[in-house]
């Protein structure tokens, strides 16, 4: 019941904002990939972004930690502008925003444990013992502590993605970005990753999640954004999104992904 309270504060706009995206426009050369995007993410809020392939979902969330540059508008993370200032970007990446990728992107030459400790040591300047303790704690949370001394290549896809989630969590981010975290996985491994994400959501983590797992969206999302051709076509609460979507294109998209 805690949870619904939290929901109310932020939907009322009074809650603390972690991510603020205003009038964001981005081009790849002459291709206008993001158009007038406005989105705010409050503390503890879970946002799911869906939409057809090529609609700009990945590009949008990658702008938040400046893996992509943008040309117009402004993104702020915890009131720090995401701009050309190297210090701002360093601040945002080191402990404000964590990211989980479609293809895990673990460091294959480092053991699982070292994958988790390296950035803690280099960026947060934790010592080896502290970093290891934090790492083991999160590995236990994603139920994979027994694999700590293996190399990523020795793990299954689902295990690798859970390691990747733990790796991001080690940096104590205020918001986690997920870019289709389950779409490179074999079907039988999807649920083990989604379970971890649901637990994370229940623990109060702020999340922005690009995914087509509608069951997951229904369960955890405070807000679902449907994107098409570089725009957010519809933004709605999970219940309304599935039951009474306002936009024709949203309904068409839903019917396509839910029908099979």
């Amino acid at each position: 019941m805690n949870k619904s309270n939290a929901n109310k504060t932020k939907s009322g706009g009074a809650g603390e904002l972690i991510v603020e995206i205003s009038n964001l426009n981005k081009w790849f050369g002459s291709f206008h990939v993001l158009k007038d995007i406005n989105l705010v993410v409050g503390k503890g809020e879970r946002i799911v972004i869906c939409g057809p392939s090529g609609s700009g979902k990945s590009t949008l969330i990658r702008c938040i930690n400046k893996l992509e540059e943008y040309q117009e508008g402004l993104i702020k993370v915890d009131n720090i502008p995401v701009d050309d200032n190297v210090k701002n970007i360093a601040a945002i990446r080191s402990g404000k925003v964590g990211m989980v990728f479609q293809h895990f992107n673990l460091f294959p030459h480092l053991k699982v444990l070292d994958n988790l400790t390296i950035a803690q040591k280099l960026v947060l300047h934790r010592d080896q013992n502290e970093a290891k303790e934090v790492a083991m704690n999160y590995l236990t949370r994603v139920r994979i502590a027994d694999q700590a001394n293996k190399f990523p290549g020795q793990l299954s896809g689902g295990q690798q993605q859970r390691v990747a989630i733990a790796r991001s969590l080690c940096m104590n981010p205020q918001v986690m970005l997920f870019d289709e975290p389950t779409s490179a996985l074999d079907p039988e491994m999807i649920s083990e990753v989604l379970d971890v994400m649901v637990e994370l959501a229940e623990g109060g983590m702020t999340m922005v999640c690009v995914t087509h797992e509608m069951g997951f969206a229904r369960k955890v999302a405070d807000c679902i954004c449907f994107m098409d051709k570089g725009q957010i076509v519809e933004k709605n609460t999970a219940k309304k999104f599935f039951e009474e979507a306002q936009n024709e294109r949203t309904r068409l998209f839903l019917s396509q992904i839910i029908s099979h």
Binding site: L67, A90, S94, G98, P108, A119, L122, S168, M171
Partner: protein
């Protein structure tokens, strides 16, 4: 539609135990049939190859062993039927140490022992990686300086022939033989690899000036044969120096070799860096690592692992190319052998000399390639 009935088949199901394949793939007979005599052409080629191998081996064996002379002290002991190995025996120390004073050979031996002591911990798996890296960097950064100092001696003490001071000065003009070859190869390799890595990073950098300079350096050095670079180092370099400054020949050769070799390593390393998926950069960026940290801990180690075989290959080429320094008047092992074969006491034993030099080069180059093979396999299991 035909309606089939699978019931009988399904109820007859029973789990089968593993059986052995009727073909014994491991037997020699099977291997020979599959690889040597599988068809008429294959049989013919096998026979022709066997014949050629027999002729060559017999000829070699005849000359190098059966008809060879092993004992004696002068060339008169040798008939010209087979190899005259006493020539090699008599000149052996010359081949190894050049014209270095015999009473000071221990200094060179000490340098070799030092190398062995440092390289063993680097290659041992049991020792912690941190320590191995420490020994490795000692080998690259400290050892060459100590080695050079030991071989060179103290400049103010001149050597007298009969009873030299243990630390007396032996100028590089007295260096030669295998020792020279190894010095050129070793310094050429360990100095060029770090420079090559920096050049590769420079070439891939976002900073236009650095990128430009790296490209120009790499393309010029790679576009010119080593022999030309050596000529330039010995003829052109002195022009840029203030008059009166005498630049040591060996140093000039080393500079030339390092220019050439680092450009090659740069391209090899760049190939490795380009093979690193974009996701690795993104994951490191997203975790807040800066450029230096990302390069040192994430991308470069992976890239270097991929290019180990090419790095070793390039190093082997260099080891062999060091013989070219003879054109600027340095005596590597090949040059010493050629000179020794012109000694009036030992006229006409070039063949023995060349066989010996070939054997020495082969031993060194082959061990390098075996070591690289071992590294490749060791890192192979960690591939994803």
């Amino acid at each position: 539609m035909v309606e089939r009935n699978y019931q009988a088949e399904n109820s007859a199901f029973k789990e089968l135990p593993d059986r052995q394949s009727p073909i014994k793939e491991t037997s020699i007979g099977y291997w020979m049939r599959a690889n040597l005599f599988s068809s008429f052409t294959s049989l013919l080629l096998t026979l022709i190859s066997l014949f050629i191998i027999a002729v060559v081996i017999w000829g070699l064996l005849d000359w190098t062993v059966l008809k060879a002379t092993w004992t004696g002290t002068t060339q008169d002991a040798c008939d010209r039927e087979g190899a005259c190995w006493i020539f090699i025996g008599e000149k052996f120390l010359n081949f190894i140490y050049g014209y270095y004073p015999q009473l000071l050979y221990w200094r060179i031996n000490l340098v070799v022992i030092l190398f062995t002591l440092l390289i063993i911990p680097v290659t041992l798996k049991r020792i912690a990686l941190r320590k191995r890296l420490l020994y490795g960097s000692l080998l690259v950064f400290v050892y060459p300086v100590i080695g050079a100092a030991l071989i060179l001696g103290v400049p103010s003490i001149t050597c007298n022939v009969s009873d030299p001071h243990p630390l007396c000065y032996v100028p590089t003009t007295k260096w030669g033989g295998l020792m020279m070859t190894l010095i050129l190869s070793y310094v050429g390799i360990v100095v060029s690899i770090p420079i090559g890595i920096l050049l590769a990073l420079g070439r891939m950098s976002n900073m236009p000036v650095i990128k430009m300079l790296s490209i120009i350096f790499i393309e010029i050095c790679r576009g010119v044969p080593l022999i030309t670079i050596l000529f330039m180092a010995s003829v052109v370099l002195p022009i840029f120096l203030p008059p009166g400054v005498e630049f040591n020949k060996l140093v000039r050769a080393l500079i030339g070799i390092i220019f050439f070799q680092s450009a090659y390593y740069a391209e090899v390393v760049r190939g490795g860096l380009q093979a690193i998926p974009k996701g690795q950069h993104e994951a490191a960026d997203a975790a807040g690592l800066n450029y230096t940290q990302k390069t040192y801990y994430i991308t470069l180690p992976q890239a270097l692992k991929i290019v180990i075989p090419s790095i070793v290959g390039t190093s082997i080429s260099l080891a062999k190319d060091t013989s070219l320094v003879v054109i600027i008047g340095l005596f590597d092992v090949l040059a010493i052998v050629t000179t020794s074969a012109a000694d009036s006491n030992w006229l006409g034993f070039d063949s023995e000399g060349y066989v010996f030099v070939a054997f020495i080069f082969w031993v060194f180059c082959y061990s390098m390639s075996r070591y690289s093979y071992y590294l490749e396999r060791k890192y192979g299991i960690q591939k994803h």
